[in-house]
Symmetry: C2
Subunit: 421 residues, 2 copies
C-alpha cells in the first residue's frame, strides 16, 4: 500500500510557514507499514493542485492532502477534489448544522463564510472525527480504472493529528487489507552516540532479523532527534491487540537489559517531565542555579504543565558578583568545580529546595579568561550531597546550552532513581 502526501498552501512554498505536517504523516504511516514515497507542496492554484493530486493518485493507492479547507476564497481543496473526481460540490445541511453548533458551543456566532465548509464533493463524506470547526473529507472513487482513496485534512497541526489518529490511520490500514495490528513504542535515550547505540544493539537486531515471522515481526529502528538524544523505536506486528502489546513489552525488556541505564523515558516523555515526575513521586522540591545555561533548565521545566508540583524556582547567576550576592557563594574562579558545587548547595539553601542542579561554564562563541568554549561544570545536590562532573563540548552555543541542560537533568534523574533503589 502506497500513500502520498500533498501539502496545499502558497504560504508553504513561500516559507512563511514550514510544512511539518507531511513529515509527521510520513512517520505515522511508516509505523504501520504504509509506504510514503513522495511528498509534494503546491500553492493555492486550482490547475496546479489538480495536476499534483492526479499524479499522486496515479502512482499511489491513497492520497492525504493537508490544508486548503478553510472558509476563504483561497481555500480550494474541496473544489480541486471535486474536479479530480469529476463531480460537483454538494451542500451538506447536516454538516452545516454541526459546524454551526461547534461555533455556538464556543460561545461565538458562525460567520456566514463558514457555511462554505459544508460543501462536499458528491459521493464523498465528511471525516467522522472533527476536532475543530473545519470538517475533513474522505472519498473512495474510481480513478483511471482503479479504486483510490483520498483524505483531506486541515493544515492546522492538531486538527490534522486528531483526524489521523482517530480515523485515517485505521481506515487506511483496513483498506490495505492488512489484518495484522501494528503498534510501536519509543524508548528515549541520552548519553551515547548513534554508532555506539547501533553497536550495542547489533546482536539483538540480528536476532530479530533472523527470527523472521517466527517472532511475529518485531523490528527496531533508531531515530536521531537532534538535540534531544536518540530514540529506539520498537514496532510489533501481530494478530490482535493483546499479542502485540505483549510483544512490545517483551522487546522493551530485552532492550532495557542491554541499554537500560541510558533509557530515560518512553514515547512523549521528556527529560524534564521525567525529572519532575520523580521529584513529585518522592515528595521533593527542585531548584536550579544556572550560569552557562542562562535559564534554559528552568524554562524547560516550567514549560511542562504541572511543573509547580515540584519546581520551586531558580537563580540565573550570569555576572560573577551575582553568584555571591544571591547564592552566598564564596569568591573564586567562576568556571570551576568549587563554584558549581557551591551553586548547587547555595540554591537548595536559599530557595529551601530538597534537590538542585547547577551549571557553569563557557558557552562561547569566545573563550573566557583563557577557558575554551564548551568547558562546562555541572552539579546535582540530593539530600545535601553534591556530585559534580566536567563536560567538554566542541559545538555551537545553542547546542552547548541544550546538551548541558539535558545532561545535568539526566544526572539528577539517575540519582533520584538510585535514591529509592
Amino acid at each position: 500500500m502506497r500513500c502520498e502526501v500533498v501539502a496545499v498552501g502558497s504560504e508553504l512554498l513561500l516559507g512563511q510557514i514550514n510544512d511539518t505536517n507531511s513529515s509527521w504523516i510520513g512517520q505515522e504511516l511508516s509505523a504501520v507499514g504504509i509506504d510514503s514515497f513522495f511528498q509534494t507542496k503546491v500553492g493555492d492554484n486550482p490547475d496546479r493542485m489538480i495536476e499534483v493530486i492526479e499524479q499522486a493518485l496515479r502512482r499511489s493507492d491513497a492520497v492525504i492532502t493537508t490544508g486548503g479547507l478553510g472558509p476563504t476564497q483561497d481555500d480550494i481543496t474541496r473544489d480541486a477534489i471535486a474536479a479530480v473526481m469529476g463531480v460537483e460540490l454538494e451542500f451538506d445541511e447536516e454538516l452545516a448544522a454541526k459546524i454551526e453548533d461547534l461555533w455556538g458551543s464556543r460561545g461565538r456566532e458562525m460567520p456566514a463564510n463558514n457555511r462554505l465548509q459544508a460543501r462536499i464533493p458528491a459521493g464523498a463524506s465528511p471525516i467522522p472525527v472533527q476536532p475543530g470547526t473545519a470538517p475533513g473529507i474522505v472519498a473512495v472513487f474510481d480513478f483511471e480504472g482503479e479504486s483510490k482513496v483520498i483524505y483531506c485534512v486541515p493544515g492546522v497541526p492538531w486538527e490534522m493529528r486528531e483526524m489521523m489518529n482517530g480515523f485515517i490511520i485505521s481506515d487506511i490500514v483496513e483498506r490495505s487489507g492488512m489484518t495484522a495490528i501494528i503498534r510501536s513504542r519509543t524508548l528515549r535515550t541520552w548519553g551515547t552516540s548513534e554508532s555506539a547505540l547501533a553497536e550495542q544493539l547489533a546482536e539483538e537486531i540480528e536476532r530479530l532479523d533472523g527470527a523472521g515471522s517466527a517472532d511475529g515481526g518485531v523490528t527496531l529502528a533508531f531515530l536521531a532527534s537532534g538535540m534531544e538524544g536518540l530514540k529506539v523505536r520498537i514496532t510489533a506486528k501481530g494478530p490482535d491487540e493483546d499479542t502485540v502489546q505483549q510483544m512490545l513489552a517483551d522487546q522493551e525488556a530485552r532492550v532495557r537489559d542491554i541499554i537500560g541505564p541510558i533509557v530515560f523515558g518512553l514515547d512523549d516523555q521528556t527529560m524534564e517531565s521525567v525529572v519532575l515526575d520523580l521529584c513529585a513521586e518522592q515528595g521533593l522540591t527542585l531548584g536550579t542555579a544556572e550560569s552557562l545555561t542562562g535559564g534554559l533548565i528552568a524554562q524547560r521545566l516550567t514549560s511542562t504543565p504541572g511543573s509547580s508540583r515540584a519546581f520551586r524556582g531558580g537563580v540565573i547567576t550570569y555576572a560573577t558578583e551575582v553568584k555571591t550576592a544571591v547564592l552566598g557563594v564564596p569568591d573564586g574562579p567562576s568556571v570551576s568545580e568549587e563554584m558549581v558545587e557551591a551553586m548547587a548547595l547555595g540554591v537548595c539553601e536559599r530557595l529551601g529546595a530538597d534537590v538542585s542542579v547547577a551549571t557553569t561554564g563557557v558557552a562561547g562563541p569566545d573563550s573566557w579568561e583563557g577557558i575554551p568554549p564548551g568547558t562546562v561544570w555541572i552539579a546535582t545536590c540530593v539530600d545535601g550531597e553534591v556530585e559534580t562532573q566536567l563536560l567538554r563540548y566542541k559545538t555551537d552555543r545553542v547546542r552547548i546550552q541544550n546538551y548541558t541542560t539535558i545532561t545535568v537533568l539526566d544526572a539528577l534523574r539517575k540519582r533520584l532513581i538510585a535514591r529509592t533503589a
Copy 2:
C-alpha cells in the same frame, strides 16, 4: 522564470528530519521575483529521484536539489543527475584535491570514501562556493529540446544557504534575463494584529500599487511569524544597487511614519538582541524576575551571543515563598500589581542591576486561586521607577509564556528609547 525545489532523502519522508530547506529556498527565490510553484520530497531511490527531477525540469526552467551529496552509498544525487543528463560521472582530480585540503585544514585526514564526492556529471561543474567538505554541482544542459539549469546543494542547512547566497541566487537571476536588482528589508513588529496592520498600511499599499513602474516597483508584504510577531517586508526592484538601497530607505521611512512605534527591529534582529543592544549602548545592566515565564526571558536573552555585555542575571520565583526569600518581596497575593512591582524593584536591588523586567501570572492550563489562566502582570524598572501592565491572554501555556516574554521586553525597549529621546 520558474524554479522547483526537490529535497532528497528518505529521512525527510519518514519524519526523522524536517525539511526546512525547501521553504527557505522558496522564500529567497520569491524575494528576487522567481516563482517556485512545486516543492517535492523524494527518498534515496534512483528511479523515483530521476522521475521527480525529470518532471521538475519539464515544468520549470530551473531545479534546485538539496541533499544526497554525501560520501555514503545512500548519497546518489550525483548519479541521478548524470542519468537525467544522459552522461557519465567523471572524476575531477582538482576537486578531489580541494576536498582533501579542506579536511586537512581542519586537522583531519580525509576518509577514502569522500573521494567519491569529487565525481561530477560530464559537462557539469562544481559550484564555486563550497563552505563545507561537500561540493555542490551546477549543470546547464539541453533537456527534451530546451535549455535547463540544475543546481545540487547539500542538505546541511548552513552549507545550502551559503551556496544559495554566494552563487545560486545571482546565477539564476542572471539566467532569468532580469537586469533589475531586487533587494528586500524586513521590519519586525510587535503588538498588533495582522488585520489591524493591514488596515493601517492599506493606503500606502494602494499608493504603491497605483504608482506602478513610476515608483520603480516597491512592494510591501506581511509575513506572520508565529509567536514572534508580524513582519513587514519591503521589496524594491531597480536598475542598480544604489538606486535600490535608496528606494528601500525611502520606503522604510514611509512605513515607520505610519507604524513606527510597533517596529522593534530589522531583518535578523530579535526583541532580545534589540533590548541587549539598547542596554549596552546606554551602559545599563539588566536583571530578570520571572514567575509566570519560568526562565524563558533569561533563556532568550542568554541565547543571544554577547548577552553578558548587559545581562547580569535573574531569579525564577516559582513557589510563592521564594519571592519573599530571594527577592525580599513582602507577603501578599502572588498574582497582583503590588507583587510584580516588588519583584522588579527587588531584582534590581539584589542583583545590582540598573534595569529589570518582571512577570507573574497564571500560565495554565488550570486556574490558580480563582484567577483564570492567561491573567498576567508585567513590570519594568528603569532608573528606579517601575511601570506595570495587566495582560489577558486566551491561549495555551506556551503562547502565554512567549507572548508575555516579548511584551515585557518590548515595554522595556520603549522605555529605554524614551530615556534618551
